[in-house]
Symmetry: C2
Subunit: 586 residues, 2 copies
Amino acid sequence: MYRTHTCGELRISHKKQEVTLSGWIQRLRKLGGMTFIDLRDRYGITQLVVDEKAADDLKEKVSKLGREFVIQTTGIVLERESKNNKIPTGEIEIDIKSITVLNKAETPPFTIQTDTDGGDELRMKYRYLDLRREVVRDNLVLRSKMAIIIRNYLDSLDFIETETPVLMKSTPEGARDFVVPSRMNPGEFYALPQSPQVFKQLLMVAGFDKYYQIVKCFRDEDLRADRQPEFTQIDCEMSFVEQEDVLATFEGLARHLFKEVKGIDPGIFPRIPYAEAMDKYGSDKPDTRFDMLFNDITEIAKGKEFSIFNNSEYIVAICAKGASEYSRKQLDALTNYVKRPQIGAKGLVYVKYNTDGTFKSSIDKFYDQNDFENWAKQCNANAGDLLLILSGNKFETQEQMCQLRLEMGRQLELIDKNQFNPLWVTDFPLLEWDDETQRYYAMHHPFTAPKPEDIELLESNPGQVRANAYDLVINGVEIGGGSVRIFDSALQSKMFKLLGFTEEQANAQFGFLMNAFKYGAPPHAGIAFGFDRLVSLFAGLDSIRDVIAFPKNNTGRDVMNDAPSQISEEQLKELFLKIALPQKQS
Amino acid sequence: MYRTHTCGELRISHKKQEVTLSGWIQRLRKLGGMTFIDLRDRYGITQLVVDEKAADDLKEKVSKLGREFVIQTTGIVLERESKNNKIPTGEIEIDIKSITVLNKAETPPFTIQTDTDGGDELRMKYRYLDLRREVVRDNLVLRSKMAIIIRNYLDSLDFIETETPVLMKSTPEGARDFVVPSRMNPGEFYALPQSPQVFKQLLMVAGFDKYYQIVKCFRDEDLRADRQPEFTQIDCEMSFVEQEDVLATFEGLARHLFKEVKGIDPGIFPRIPYAEAMDKYGSDKPDTRFDMLFNDITEIAKGKEFSIFNNSEYIVAICAKGASEYSRKQLDALTNYVKRPQIGAKGLVYVKYNTDGTFKSSIDKFYDQNDFENWAKQCNANAGDLLLILSGNKFETQEQMCQLRLEMGRQLELIDKNQFNPLWVTDFPLLEWDDETQRYYAMHHPFTAPKPEDIELLESNPGQVRANAYDLVINGVEIGGGSVRIFDSALQSKMFKLLGFTEEQANAQFGFLMNAFKYGAPPHAGIAFGFDRLVSLFAGLDSIRDVIAFPKNNTGRDVMNDAPSQISEEQLKELFLKIALPQKQS
């Protein structure tokens, strides 16, 4: 037996007991003739003491210990003289009688503590050491806790957890698949699932009624800041339901999580139609922890000599409360911020509503005090506020202003890190027009059902058709999304036609699912949540990387064990493959 | 709202209520002027009635319904005149007032009922229809139920569920990997995990203390009868534990499952050392639901004129109770059974212990009644029993007799399908000698720890060294296996040397894990269970295929959606690959 207790377990009530602990040496200190050892395991830290009067061989052993050594020790629980109220075991220490070194340790390349001296890259390479740090491990413990809470909640609602295949069929459209060559089927490939979409719809055809799975998905995309080639989805589907049933079910799940994990009740989730979200926040994933809503001043700002406004489709203002005293330097910095290529605005107009009631603006030349007062009124601005204005094409300008709004929220410290504002964005457009290819694309996917009241617009004005699609957004982050599916084959045919599929193409790509539908498909709807993102949100982290035990870097490499790697000629031959690397220029 | 209740929910207590149900039409019957409809969903079947006096348009609608149509219906709950006590809803029926056809259905290619008329291949192709059958769906519901029970049990013991990478590093030895070409790292490949072995050991180095995961694993093997290229493992690892802790923990899990799922307590699991299992059952996964133990009669059967026995290393007998009256034909069939190439015995010797106390044998020529009586005594045989005897090399003969014992258990109906006999097989040999390559191989894997008391044999007699390795066997099926791991680097080096690895080879293959161990590895041990097999055992099935929602066939194909398939030239080019199919002979 390696231990009678963990390092997080002993209290004053264990006083005088003989105990055996095992763990890692976090810290060694000598104080006079005494040695203090902080012994660490997953459950906590316990202080060990070797007294001056201890046996010589014990002292000898202790003198050879080092950081991160793994030891087993037996001793008596004592009450500490100077208690440490920062840790649960802070009232006691162990007067140790014997020590066994279970394993020595080389000095780790960075310190194993909350404020480590290790850089990102070093910590990725030695991820197994980084995971020893409490702050990192806590994220993974949270992940495990959230997973079991989610599972039990869905289980209690009669959802069947069903595993769908990882080796599946490659689909020609959509994001890029990872593929897996089949040795037994020469020249053919499996694909790894981007999502189990087809399978979960088949499970509805199969009468499973309620399905869920916490499942790995894969996308071979160029990895941006916070993407991983493999990620985890909470994937769900229900039969004989309408949109309202899905929202109620998963709002229930989310509220349950908030309650169990955070001890908070976020109340009924507001619902914001897509169009309203765009108008008010310039985003389909608005951060509603602060207001600073958009004010469309297009009508009232046009018609003077200022050609930039006159030539703009859309002029939008936000009111930064109490920011009228922003300095020249601060305003220049904001202008530079919106002109960054990632945001791409051409410039920024400001109007200071001075505390004395006068206005000062970067476009004083073209507008008078009355104009500004008019704008201020429209924006509910008061003396002391600052108006920030962008103009241009509507959609682009909304996106730019969305970024500026978030930046101002940060600068004015309006964003409470401990607040959670969940909401549903609903009524997404069914279709997106693509100028380049001159056709509509499904905004969600081709099985998304239009709102019944908009079906008549499908032929006359497809761009106006709203979908029974919904996203769960928390604090400006899209946590999940889903839709009611089309289960009527006539409507589905119409959709394919709209999306520019010939019957043949539709058959090649979706014929399989359509065939299944012929044998009696129930009305069904579903949703999928990004589990990595949900956990990172609950953990208060900006990146999903820290909630993944062994993440990959931006080029999809596992730097810890150096994957991917070359495989042998023999392996390639078995798979009927040859590598054809691009010729290097000489 | 599509339904007020499910089709499995209504009871006599709902009498006179108006209800709305949705589901599939299982059956339509006309009886006089009445029409009876069995409406089915996941939760059950409810009988609908359309009365003779119903409105014409309702009767018209009903006349157009067909099997597997999806309908919604509203009506009043009535007490049935002739109750059906075979189903929970058998006391009521619904007098329907309205019907909406949600979806029509083509006639399915086989009947959707327990005794279907569909063959294996047809049902695989239309798996989504096969899954509608209650017997098939029940297996998947059981799987879901067992998963959540397992998770909650391990969660309650502080195991952290941790997801390990699916895209990992290819390892040159072991079974064949499925590989995934990396677009971003030209010419390089990820591998899909055969098991998360390395990662779970790293998590122990990381101090996670207790890890589990229910996880897909992959093996690109030629698929035998009951293998799948992707399968699911319950993967676990613990730190600061000895073998006893692991066995206690997972015996607890298994007993909990038996109790929760089957309502039975199988008691303390017997433990059988490998050597004893081989001696008594000729198998490291003995089915102990019946005895018929092996009797080694080598010593007492040699030395007469029968050269086959005299030249045999090993002569083994089983006693088939009450089978002395087996006919010539039955005995010939048994002989043919053991001579089948899958078993490979050269012949079968029998000794009938007749009810009159005399013996009759196929080798009467060489042995007298005293000899047979001697053997019978050794085998605890009584008058009326039948001795069956095989001889040859020890290991092969044990395997052959194991098969014969199981066959006799079936023939004499000694195997109770409803009985569960779990046991631990322990003390496996650490190493296996391979004649062909003239070297030892690790029986489990190279990190398996030898039993401390056998370490001194490592150099003098490696083949005799027993490992701290263990299997959980239930009813003759290996359900799980694991081992205590080596965490001492000196011992690990010795193991690599024994296994014939040069230092370089050991480094190339395992250096990564060995490096991690340098920073303080705790003593640790683990186990993995085949989840598919565990569920199929609990479901009383012979094959794992029926507990997998979308299984593949023997050539690794998903015949339902025809995967794997070809991918485009463009995709291949992006992955820097060319296909090199073998030239066909012309």
